[in-house]
C-alpha cells in the first residue's frame, strides 16, 4: 500500500472542509470493507483518507416526524439487520443487511459505504430504491437531497461532488397496503456478490389483489441499479395474475443491460432477471 495522508475529523463540517480541499485522490472511509481491499489490490491509490467514524450522530437510525425513517450513512449492516425500527418497517432491508458478506464484515460495513461504493451489485440499493428512499448529501453548499435512484451514475460513480458526503438515507413511511421483497441470486450462501438482485415493491388496492403501484429494481445487470419501468407498467392497475407476472418478468429481462463477468454471463443474468422478477412478484402476492 502506498502512503497517504489521514484525517479523522470530529464534525461533519470539518470533514467536508478537508474533503473539499482536494480535487481528486481524497476518499472518505467508513467500514473500509470496500476501500481497503481496493487499496491493497492497487485499484485505487488515495492521497488522502478521511475517516468518518469519529463524527457523532452519523450512525443513528432515527424515525422522523412525518413517519419516515432516517438511516445514518455510518450505520453498520449489523445495526440495520438487528434494528427493530428497520425490521418492523422495511423487513426486506433488514433481511438483506443480515445476509450480506459475513458476520465480521457486517460489523464494519456501512450503509453509506455500500451505496457510495456504487457497485452495480450493491445489495442495499435495489430494496432502498424500490422503497423510494432519498439520499441525504452534505457538502460545502450545505445539505441537498436526491432520490436514491438518481444517486448512481455509473459503476463506482455517484452524484456526489467535490467535498460532498452521504450522511443518511431517508425511507418514506411504510405503506400498510404495500409489500416488498428482495431476492439476491449468488453462487454461495454467504460471502458472495449478487449475480443478479431483484427488488419488488407492490401496493395493493385496499382489500383486493389489484396492483395499484409497483416498483421493480434490478441490481448487477446494468452500470447502475435500474428500475424496470415497462415491467412496472405492465402490472399496474390490474390484479397480479400469473400471466401478468410472467409478462413483467419478460419485460424486466428486456430492460436489463447485463455484461459477462466472472460471476455469470449476460445470457444467464438476463434469464435470471425474468425468473427472479417473477419470484419476487409471486412472493409479494402470496404474502398479501
Amino acid at each position: 500500500m502506498k502512503p497517504f495522508e489521514y484525517y479523522a475529523p470530529e464534525t461533519l463540517e470539518a470533514a467536508v472542509e478537508i474533503m473539499a480541499r482536494y480535487e481528486e485522490g481524497v476518499y472518505p472511509v467508513a467500514g473500509g470493507t470496500d476501500l481497503i481491499p481496493k487499496m491493497r489490490y492497487g485499484q485505487i491509490q488515495p492521497k488522502v483518507v478521511v475517516n468518518l467514524k469519529r463524527i457523532p450522530g452519523l450512525a443513528e437510525i432515527v424515525p422522523q416526524d412525518d413517519g419516515s425513517l432516517k438511516i445514518g450513512a455510518l450505520a453498520t449492516l449489523t445495526q440495520v439487520a438487528s434494528s427493530p425500527k428497520v425490521r418492523e418497517r422495511y423487513l426486506m432491508v433488514a433481511q438483506i443487511a443480515g445476509k450480506m458478506a459475513s458476520v465480521p464484515v457486517r460489523n464494519l460495513a456501512t450503509v453509506g459505504g455500500n451505496l457510495c461504493n456504487a457497485a452495480p451489485s450493491a445489495d442495499l440499493a435495489p430494496p432502498l430504491i424500490a422503497l423510494d428512499a432519498e439520499a441525504v448529501i452534505f457538502g460545502p453548499q450545505g445539505e441537498r437531497r436526491v432520490p436514491l435512484e438518481a444517486f448512481f451514475t455509473g459503476p463506482g460513480q455517484t452524484v456526489l461532488g467535490r467535498g460532498e458526503l452521504l450522511t443518511a438515507v431517508v425511507v418514506p413511511p411504510p405503506d400498510p397496503q404495500a409489500r416488498g421483497t428482495y431476492i439476491k441470486h449468488a453462487h454461495r450462501e454467504a460471502l458472495d456478490i449478487a449475480i443478479v438482485g431483484v427488488a419488488a415493491w407492490v401496493r395493493f388496492e385496499e382489500g383486493g389483489s389489484v396492483c395499484e403501484d409497483a416498483h421493480i429494481v434490478l441490481g448487477a445487470v446494468a452500470p447502475t441499479p435500474i428500475r424496470a419501468r415497462e415491467a412496472e407498467a405492465a402490472i399496474r392497475g390490474a390484479p397480479l395474475t400469473e400471466e401478468r407476472i410472467a409478462e413483467a418478468g419478460r419485460l424486466a429481462a428486456e430492460a436489463a443491460r447485463p455484461i459477462d463477468d466472472v460471476r455469470g454471463s449476460a445470457w444467464y443474468r438476463r434469464e435470471m432477471v425474468a425468473v427472479l422478477t417473477r419470484r419476487a412478484l409471486f412472493s409479494v402476492t402470496i404474502s398479501q
Binding site: M1, K2, P3, R40, Y41, S102, H185, H187, R188, E189, A190, L191, D192, I193, V262, R263, G264, S265, W267, Y268, E271, M272, V275, R279
Partner: protein
C-alpha cells in the same frame, strides 16, 4: 479382536485450542533480526522475449537492500522436467513468470521498488489451447524442445478394440475439467537466512522438506549438506507444497545478495496466479458393458494442460490410469494421454492428484452404462467391484478391500430406494447419485524411495520423544504417530513429544503426499518404538529379575505381569542404562519403505502397498429455473483398514467432501488468455460453512495386513468421487448430464433448455 489402549481412540488435536485462539506461530508470523521483505516482479505477458531489464532506479530507492535478475546468478535449471530457472532471463512463458526480485526493509518499499524496475519485452505469439499447442505451426514454448508435447503415454490391458466391438453397449462422452486451486489458508512462505559460516536455513511451508533440501541445492549450487529446512506450523497444504517453486531459490538469492535474512510471502492474489493448480483436462472416453452387467471395456484419451512448466503434477496421468484400469474389474482398458505445454498457469499436485478427474469420468460412465443395460447403477457397480486379494490386469495387488461394503453402506444410509419414488415440488427437483473411489493407501512409489524414518528416544526423566520425517500439515499426523508409539510403549499419547519439522534433526522422508503418512511414517515409528521397547525390557529384566516374557509396559512403568506392585518406572530404567560402565542410551530407529513398485513405462506395476476404497452417496436439489444445485446430504463411506483415530478420519472425509463439492459445483480458477480473472477468495469460491451440506462419514475397517495396526491412508479419498456422485445425482433429478466441471447454474440451465427444445 485385539484390545488396544490408544489405537482407535478419539484423541483431540493438542494444537486445536492454540489454533482457534491465534497462538500458533505460522511462517507468516515469523520475524528474525535484520529480516528483509522480498517481492517478485512478475511478467504481465503470457509469452515474450525479455530484451532488457533496468533495475537502476529500484536500486537507488532508499530502503532497498538487494535487487536481482537472472544475470546475478548462474542459470541453473530445476523442476520435474528441468525446464525453468528461478528468474527468467531470456523469455517469459506465462503471466506471472518471475523476472526480477527485490529485498527491502519493509513490504511497501519492496513493492515500490518493483514499480521502478523497467522491463522491455518483445511479445511472442502465445498459445493457450492445448490442442492448438500440439499443431505443427504452434509457437514453441520451450525452444530447446521439438514440440509443445511434453509426454505421450499409453496404457493398455486386454484388447480394447476387440472389447469395444464385443460390448453389448458402449457409451461415449467428451469431458472438460477446469483449474482448481489448492487454496490453503496460509499462502506460500519462505524465510532464508545464512549463518556466519555460510550455512543456509530456510523456514518453509513445504510438504517435502528433504526433497526441497535437494532441489534447493540443485537450483542454488549450494551443497545440500549446508541447507537446513525448518517447517513452520503449516496453514494447510492440499498438495501445494509438493514442488519447489521459483520463489524459494529467489528468496535465498535475495538473502545472499543482501547479506541479511529475507522473508518472501505470497499475497493471496499471487497465490492464485503463481501457486500450482489442478490440471485442466480434456477427456474423450468410451466405456462398454455386457447386457448381463459385466463391465467390459474402457477407452480413454486425455489431453492434459501442464501450463508453462512441468511439475510433479504431470504424473497425475498415472493415477488416472489406475482408476480407469482398476477401480472395477474390467477385462479391456486403454488410456492414452498427452501432456502439453501452453502459456497458461502452471499446474501441479492437488489432493487426489488426477483421481478426482478420472473418477468423474469413470463413475459418470458407470451410471450411463447401467442405464444403457437397464440395471440399477448400484447393482451394476456391485457386480463389478474388486474383491480382497485380487491382482488387477494392471499389476495392482489389492489386499484388504471393502469397496462392496462402502457402496452398500453409503446406499443404505442415504435411502437408495427413494430414487424410485420422487416427488416434484414447485421448481425444485431432488436426486440421489453414488460414486466409488480407489486411492493409493499404502504409499505411492513415484520417487525412487517411498520411505520414512523415525527415531524414538527415552530420556532420564522418562520422557519419550519421537523424531519423524513425517510432515504435519494440519491432518493430525503428530497425534497418529504418538498414538502408535503410545500403543507399543504403554504411555498416554499426550506424554509423547513429536519433533517433525527440521531436516537437521529428523530422519529422511519423501514428503506428505499420496495419503501415505499414517501408513509409512506410522509404520516406521512403530518399528522404532518396538526397538525401544526391546531396550527397555532388556534393562528392566535385570532390574526386576524377571524375564522379558513376563513383563509389560503400562503407564510409563515396566510391570511384572500378574503382580502390578512389582514395577519400575521408565526414567529409572533409563538411568540404570546411563549410569554404569559401558552404559547406553535408550534410542530406537525405524525405517519403512513399503513393498510397492514404480510403475513401468507400460503403466503397470503395484504402485502402492495397499489401496483405500470408498463410496459416496449424495442427494441434491436442483432448481430448474435457475439451474442452481444444492447438495443436501452426503454419505461418505471409506475403507481405511483401521481408524487409528476415528475423529481424524472423519475430519479427512468431511474436508475431502467439501473440497470435492467445491470441485463439483463452485471452485474454478477462471483463466482467459493465460490470465487469472478471479484471483480473490470472493470470486474463487470455496464452500462456506453455510454451503456445506450434512456429511455423514462412515468408517469401514478391513484390517490391512501391511499397514500399522491394520491402517491405510485416507487423506485424499474423500475428494475423489464427489463430483461424479453430484453429476449422477443431478442426472437422477432432472435427466441432464453435465460433463464439465464445475457444474455451474448456467451450465445446468443451458442443458435444461436444450433438453426441453429437444423434447419439442
Amino acid at each position: 479382536m485385539t484390545q488396544f489402549s490408544y489405537i482407535g481412540k478419539r484423541i483431540p488435536k493438542p494444537d486445536a485450542w492454540a489454533k482457534a485462539t491465534g497462538q500458533v506461530v505460522y511462517g507468516h508470523d515469523l520475524k528474525v533480526p535484520r529480516m528483509l521483505y522480498g517481492k517478485i516482479l512478475r511478467s504481465p505477458l503470457p509469452h515474450a522475449r525479455i530484451l532488457h531489464i533496468d533495475t537502476s532506479r529500484a536500486e537507488r530507492l532508499p530502503g532497498v537492500k538487494a535487487v536481482i535478475t537472472a544475470k546475478d546468478f548462474p542459470p541453473r535449471r530445476f523442476g520435474f522436467a528441468k525446464d525453468r530457472t528461478p528468474l527468467k532471463g531470456d523469455k517469459v512463458r506465462r503471466v506471472g513468470d518471475e523476472v526480477a526480485a527485490v529485498a527491502a526493509v519493509d513490504e511497501d518499499t519492496a513493492e515500490e521498488a518493483l514499480e521502478l524496475i523497467h522491463v522491455e519485452y518483445e511479445p511472442l505469439p502465445p498459445v493457450f489451447d492445448p490442442e492448438e499447442a500440439l499443431k505443427p505451426d504452434a509457437p514453441l514454448i520451450h525452444e530447446e524442445r521439438e514440440s509443445n508435447l511434453f509426454r505421450h503415454q499409453e496404457y493398455v490391458h486386454g484388447d480394447p478394440d476387440r472389447g469395444l466391438d464385443e460390448a453389448d453397449v458402449v457409451v461415449e462422452d467428451y469431458y472438460e475439467l477446469g483449474y482448481m486451486q489448492p487454496t490453503p489458508l496460509e499462502t506460500c512462505f519462505c524465510l532464508a537466512a545464512f549463518d556466519p559460516s555460510g550455512r543456509l536455513t530456510v523456514w518453509s511451508t513445504t510438504q517435502i522438506p528433504f526433497l526441497l533440501q535437494r532441489d534447493l541445492a540443485e537450483a542454488l549450487g549450494i551443497p545440500g549438506s549446508h541447507i537446513r529446512i525448518i517447517q513452520t506450523a503449516i496453514g494447510g497444504g492440499f498438495g501445494r507444497g509438493l514442488d519447489m517453486y521459483s520463489f524459494e531459490p529467489i528468496c535465498v538469492w535475495l538473502a545472499k545478495k543482501a547479506g541479511q535474512p529475507v522473508r518472501l510471502a505470497f499475497t493471496r492474489q499471487e497465490e492464485f496466479i503463481a501457486a500450482e493448480c489442478r490440471q485442466p483436462m480434456r477427456i474423450w472416453a468410451r466405456s462398454g458393458a455386457m447386457k448381463d452387467g459385466r463391465l467390459w471395456v474402457r477407452d480413454v484419451k486425455i489431453l492434459l494442460d501442464n501450463g508453462a512448466y512441468v511439475s510433479w503434477g504431470t504424473v497425475t496421468t498415472l493415477v488416472f490410469m489406475e482408476t480407469v484400469g482398476s477401480l472395477y474389474r474390467v477385462p479391456h482398458a486403454r488410456v492414452i494421454s498427452d501432456s502439453v505445454y501452453t502459456n497458461n498457469p502452471i499446474t501441479g499436485a492437488v489432493r487426489g492428484f488426477g483421481n478426482p478427474q478420472s473418477t468423474f469420468v469413470v463413475e459418470t460412465q458407470m451410471d450411463r452404462l447401467a442405464e444403457a443395460i437397464g440395471m440399477d447403477p448400484l447393482e451394476f457397480r456391485l457386480r463389478n467391484v474388486n474383491r480382497p486379494f485380487e491382482e488387477t490386469p494392471q499389476g495392482i495387488k489389492i489386499t484388504s478391500c471393502g469397496l462392496k461394503e462402502c457402496l452398500e453402506e453409503a446406499a443404505r444410509r442415504i435411502g437408495w430406494e427413494r430414487r424410485k419414488k420422487k416427488e416434484a415440488s414447485g421448481t425444485k427437483r431432488r436426486g440421489i447419485g453414488i460414486a466409488a473411489t480407489m486411492n493409493v493407501g499404502g504409499g505411492a512409489r513415484i520417487y525412487r524411495s517411498d520411505g520414512c524414518g523415525a527415531i524414538v528416544k527415552v530420556d532420564d526423566f522418562g520422557q519419550i520423544t519421537v523424531m519423524t520425517g513425517a510432515t504435519e500439515i494440519g491432518q493430525g499426523s503428530d497425534v497418529i504417530v504418538a498414538q502408535i508409539v503410545a500403543e507399543v510403549l504403554g504411555v498416554q499419547p499426550d506424554k509423547i513429544v513429536i519433533v517433525n519439522n527440521d531436516t537437521a534433526l529428523t530422519p529422511w522422508d519423501v514428503g506428505v503426499h499420496a495419503s501415505r503418512t499414517t501408513f509409512i511414517a506410522g509404520k516406521s515409528a512403530l518399528f522404532a518404538a518396538q526397538e525401544v521397547k526391546r531396550q527397555i525390557l532388556e534393562t528392566a529384566e535385570e532390574l526386576l529379575e524377571v524375564s522379558a516374557a513376563d513383563l509389560e509396559l503400562r503407564d510409563g512403568y515396566v510391570v511384572v505381569r500378574g503382580s502390578p506392585d512389582r514395577r519400575v518406572p521408565f526414567d529409572k530404567v533409563v538411568r540404570a542404562r546411563h549410569f554404569r560402565e559401558g552404559g547406553q542410551v535408550i534410542v530406537g530407529h525405524g525405517w519403512y519403505d513399503p513393498p510397492n513398485e514404480m510403475v513401468g513405462a507400460d503403466g503397470k506395476g503395484n504402485i502402492s502397498a495397499a489401496y483405500g476404497f470408498g463410496a459416496q452417496a449424495i442427494e441434491v436439489e436442483v432448481d430448474i429455473e435457475t439451474g442452481k444445485v444444492k447438495p443436501l446430504w452426503v454419505v461418505s463411506a471409506h475403507d481405511v483398514g483401521r481408524a487409528i483415530n476415528p475423529m481424524y478420519v472423519e475430519g479427512q472425509i468431511e474436508g475431502g467432501v467439501v473440497m470435492g463439492l467445491g470441485y463439483a459445483l463452485l471452485e474454478e480458477l477462471q483463466v482467459r488468455e493465460g490470465r487469472v480473472r478471479n484471483p480473490t477468495l470472493l470470486d474463487y469460491r470455496l464452500l462456506t460453512a453455510l454451503d456445506a451440506p450434512k456429511i455423514e462419514s462412515v468408517i469401514v475397517e478391513t484390517d490391512d495386513p501391511e499397514g500399522p495396526f491394520g491402517a491405510k491412508g485416507v487423506g485424499e479419498m474423500g475428494t475423489n468421487p464427489t463430483a461424479a456422485a453430484v453429476a449422477n445425482a443431478i442426472y437422477d433429478a432432472i435427466g441432464v448430464r453435465i460433463t464439465s466441471l464445475p457444474i455451474t447454474p448456467e451450465k445446468v440451465l443451458r442443458a435444461l433448455k436444450e433438453q426441453r427444445s429437444g423434447e419439442q
